[in-house]
Amino acid sequence: MWQFFHKLGSPKWFYGIAGRFMPWLLGLGLVLSLAGIVWGLAFAPQDYLQGNSYRIIFIHVPTAFLAQSVYMMMAVAGVITLVWKMKLADVFVRAAAPVGAILTVLALFTGAVWGKPTWGTWWIWDARLTSMLILLFLYLGIIGLSHAYSDEKTAARAVAVLTVVGVVNIPIIKYSVNWWNTLHQPATFKLTEKPTMVPEMWVPLLLAVLGTYLLFGWVSLYRMQTEVLRRERRTRWVKDVIAAGGGSQLKSGGA
């Protein structure tokens, strides 16, 4: 465990191991999410109440789920930055924040377009939608703050504090559909209960969620690698990677 922790502090080790995982994440992620989307769009049965508009769920739920999940991961990384000052945790927060912001935009947009035929309105200031909008502002704040300092350590600390404080919004999003009256339907997946949908609907949804998760893994590792290259540009191994064109795979194994 401690050895793993120590190794995680080595940028070169991280770069190599990320490069080894990335093709799998990308390939499996594409296969799963495309399978889920095609199944959901063309083969899943119609919803008896909402008709075909519910097919938006196959991208709305994955993006909304990921948007919150990514924030949770960033908050954990923020704690690690503050307590252990691990640089790689800050690298993750920087790499993931723009992806999280785009996922939140997608969740809000698909939700609005789904809301029009279902609720009769694009937007309503209820708890779920408003707390999701706050999540977007948190992401934008983190991105802005990370560029506001020239000193990397100060930026890392400030960003970590904002990320950790903002995590209070996550349970609000999660339980908003239970705590307050809202137009938004309750969660599809719960850990303790069976899904309220038929398998022909929730299996493709699960595939899409898993696929999007893996794709996020790929893009965040790729972005982390880029940040590592930028930060470690004075080291010998990065110069070799740059000279070879900056690919994601390390040519020679070992540290």
């Binding site: 989307i37 769009l41 063309a42 083969f43 899943a44 049965p45 119609q46 008709g51 075909n52 508009s53 097919r55 938006i56 991208i59 709305h60 993006t63 723009p98 992806v99 785009i102 935009v105 997608l106 947009f109 698909t110 377009v113 789904w114 029009k116 035929p117 794709l215 893009v219 790729y222 972005r223 690698q225 880029t226 290259l229 930028r230 540009r233 010998r236 990065v238 110069k239 070799d240 740059i242 000279a243 064109g245 900056g246």
Partner: protein, 86 residues
């Protein structure tokens, strides 16, 4: 297949515009974040490649790496200290 024909699949009983707009924007933004990430990587690599060539133009790879790795460094000596004090 949940639809009788391809046109029924596109129209989706009137919900087509909503559904297809969502999927269109989804793929667009997914492509955008991928493109941005690849562009960032290229920028970092290109900037560093330029700096390495500027540091020692016309040198071979191995020599260049050694040069930039070494560089000039100010080493404090007892002599320089005594000069600054006097």
């Amino acid at each position: 297949m949940a639809f009788d024909s391809f046109s029924a699949f596109i129209i989706m009983e009137g919900h087509g515009p909503y559904v297809w707009t969502c999927y269109g924007v989804f793929f667009l933004l997914m492509a955008l974040i991928t493109w941005l990430s690849v562009r960032d990587r290229r920028r970092v690599v290109r900037t560093q490649q330029r700096e390495q060539t500027v540091a020692s133009p016309g040198q071979t790879d191995t020599v260049r790496n050694e040069r930039t790795g070494g560089g000039f460094q100010r080493i404090p000596t007892s002599q320089s200290e005594s000069i600054s004090k006097s």
